[in-house]
Amino acid sequence: MTATTPGGWLLVLALTLPAGAMLLGFVAGGRHAQRIALGALAIWLAIALAVALQVQASGAPLAYVIGGWQPPLGMALRADGLAAAMLLTGAVVLLAVALFGQGAYDTPRGAAETRAAYAFWCFLPALAAALAAAFLGGDLFNLFVALEMLTFTALALACLDGKPSQFKSELRYLLFALIGSVLYLLGAGLLYGAYGTLDIALLAGRTRADAPTMVAGALMTAGLIAKMALFPLHFWLPPAHAGAPAAASALLSGLVVKGAFVLLLRLWFWVLPAPVVLGGGTVLAALGATAIVIGSVVALRQERLKLLVAYSTVAQMGYLFLMFPLLAAADADAASRAWLGGVLQAVSHALAKSAMFLAAGLIAVSLGHDRVTSLGGAARVMPITVIAFALGGLSLMGLPPSGGFTAKWLLLRASVETGQWWWSLVILTGGLLTGGYVYRIVAAALAPPAPGCVARAVPRPQELCVLALAVASMLLGVLPLYALGLVRVGAP
């Protein structure tokens, strides 16, 4: 029996505010859409903060029963530590990207509405609404709708430039993501047939390790990891994320893929029964490990900066899957560490990767190209941007004092504690390879400029947005304890 908790109305607000802002912006258009989006995202951050504080303070998940209709017939919104942390991350990244986007997508007073700006300012709150729906949703079918919201938003953001080369990679993304959604829906149908509800809290602990549940689990998992671009289903991500404009890439790599991640966690650690998790977790982690190694090596060999960063996303997503067999292990302490490590990896990657994509975009704008071999001089023209990129890189490598360090450290410890030490080898190899490609970029950017290289300065406010994100991913490592306490609330 779910009951609306004090502060539950915040969850409704977190979902309806950006949705309403998007609708109003859609109607008003032009300069108004920009103002509405900026205002709404700022308030959204405050709401996310309030949700996080409330969850932290009460030590229990927030819930809101919609319309007073109890599940299974009705639906509930829920925010545990995971949801609150991801919501807050999403709000921070979105606001930073919105402020960054003011440079490229500004509609001055009196100017006519343009396509890219209109779409950008409408889809920012749209993404916020989609993320809120995905993080807070308590019903597997409702989460399907959230997934589709994410897909549509991601697609539109990626096509913002209207570049011909982008249409093909986006079409590949859309088709593959849609197939993923349908597989997810198929599994949801089976679960409804087996249990007569899709409410996650009601399903928890009630599922049996029988054929319908397992088939549903396999289908839904495959659908979700297709959307997360886990190797070998990653083919769509690098061109789609690398080809998008910088602000969009940051959102796609930082946030959109995390929506499916939260759903995957809900599915595995709330819905699926323990024996199924135990059996399947190793497969997921093995795929994740492969993604880490292959993604990193391929990133190391890229010639274009944005493609390199995109392949790095493929690799970093792999880390998220290492937590599955660790969580399934019997050791409660290790499982708790693995949970924290996995969630923290998602958060720190969101912050670090969005900073890196924005930085890569600024570098490309300044130099007029993004060939890795000729980045020389970048550090002189835009030291802040290069520092931000390097800080993000440190977090990806897992060097202290970054958030990535805490995440990887926790995963490492958990893997040793549960006797699955082989995953720790993967984490270390991944860190090494990550160091390799981050180093390649930073060393190239630090090098003296090539003769004839004309780099133009980039706007300082944009640089500061990037730096803020990178510093946030660092702060996560300095102040992990507060983050960890929050993430523990309502953990499986």
Binding site: A222, I225, V276, V297, L432
Partner: protein
Amino acid sequence: MSLLLPLVPLVPLAMCLALAWPGARARVGGVLWAAPVPALLVALLVGQVPPLVAEAGGLRLTLLLDLPGALLLGGAAVLWGAAGLYARAYLGHQPRFAAWWLLTQSGSLGVFIAGDLGSFYLAFAVASLAGFGLVVQDGTVAAFRAGALYLLLAVLGEIALLFAFALLAVGALGDSIAIADVVPPLATSPGGHVTALLLVLGFGLKMGLVPLHVWLPVAHPAAPMPASAVLSGAIVKAGVIGLVRFLPEEGAPAGWGSALAVFGFLTAYWGVVAGLAQRNPKTVLAYSTVSQMGVIGAVIGMGIVLDIGASGLHAAFYALHHMLAKGALFLGVGVALATGRGARRWVLPLALLLALGFGGLPPTGGALAKAAVKDELGADLVALCAALSAFGSTLLMLHFVRRMMDAAAEAPDGRATPGLLGPWLGLGVAALVVPWLLLPWVGADVGKMWSLEAVAPVLLGAALAWPWRRWADRVPELPEGDVLVLARRGAAPREALGRAVLRFETMFRPWPAAGLSLLAVVLGLLAAMAG
């Protein structure tokens, strides 16, 4: 009183942050030398400073000062201070350099007082990574190449340590991450050998144990003079304090003492042999550092083998002398190059004295350092090995003095400014005198330094230095970083491997392959879930 401890890393850090303020920039640059003053103060107060334990949430941070730590901290503080003064005269005011300098210093000093895994790792990483900025200061292509190698190996070392610390934290009883709590169970824990290997890898990289020494001879010649001095003097000592703290005689798993000793001596000899084939005086000094760190490794290793409780203190004392003397020699190279032929008069006497001190010429501080480690290196075969290394050191250092004079002879004549002379002289005198002042702390047998077995290697080395003068020019010059050549030969297979991975990844890019993978994933997951 214990609240002084955080000042050690925080004062340099605060000065580094102050550099961001344009108004404070020039002022901070002018007092670069003052950053390590709190560290020196704290080191002198050793014994009166209780440990500082700060509870933050579930994490307990510990800062503490023991005798080995105080020796190293004090020595490093003197070196950083002197080199800071020298840098002002040598480089002028360069805010960027000052920033890297202070950041590195913060880590380098902090590592000597860190008492738990977290703060130790943090300080170690800051010292390692920020050192990059010092290496590439000159901005030349060679400097960037050296910086690249430095950074790469530093990161490798970090990763090895990270893994080792993870194992330590897991093996510890309870949740404490204090070094004193996590190290004792190491000897008996199942993953002890892996942990020890990773610790030796991580700290050995920093100290320059063969074959992990390659960054030293590449980075030192590329860095500006004061940076080389602190790299060689202070930063490599982070590895020493690491071994002292994490492989104490009661905590190391069986076999690791002798392994460390063997690698130590190998390093000591390798450093001498490779250094003798060098032309650049700074490279020779770098190899000398490699060699001396080898000796320290051997001391710590034998301390474990012979179960000598004070071996950490002895090693720290030996390292203290090395810090001061090696720092002085590096600064001396700069003075020599500034004075040209006048160096013969100005620089030569002190340089000779310091150089012979490395061999153990009494009554220099070096001889005291050698006497202090007699407990560990004084018996049987080991004594012979130690004598051989002392002989080699003498030979190598005289080779260095000759190379330095050669280089000075080619430099334009001039006068060294007081800003260069003062710190150099001060540091050199400190290297000769300070070990005597600190003798009561360590309690070495002074008489031993006059014994025949202590003096003979110096005399023999000095005697052979003359013939080597002739031979040295005929020996082909070894590339800086010697075994690095082998690593370059490995580039082709690495390239092939990378290309193979890329080809493999490309197989999954076409649509049908991805679609088939998706279906296979569904069935594979199902099979795994069911079985």
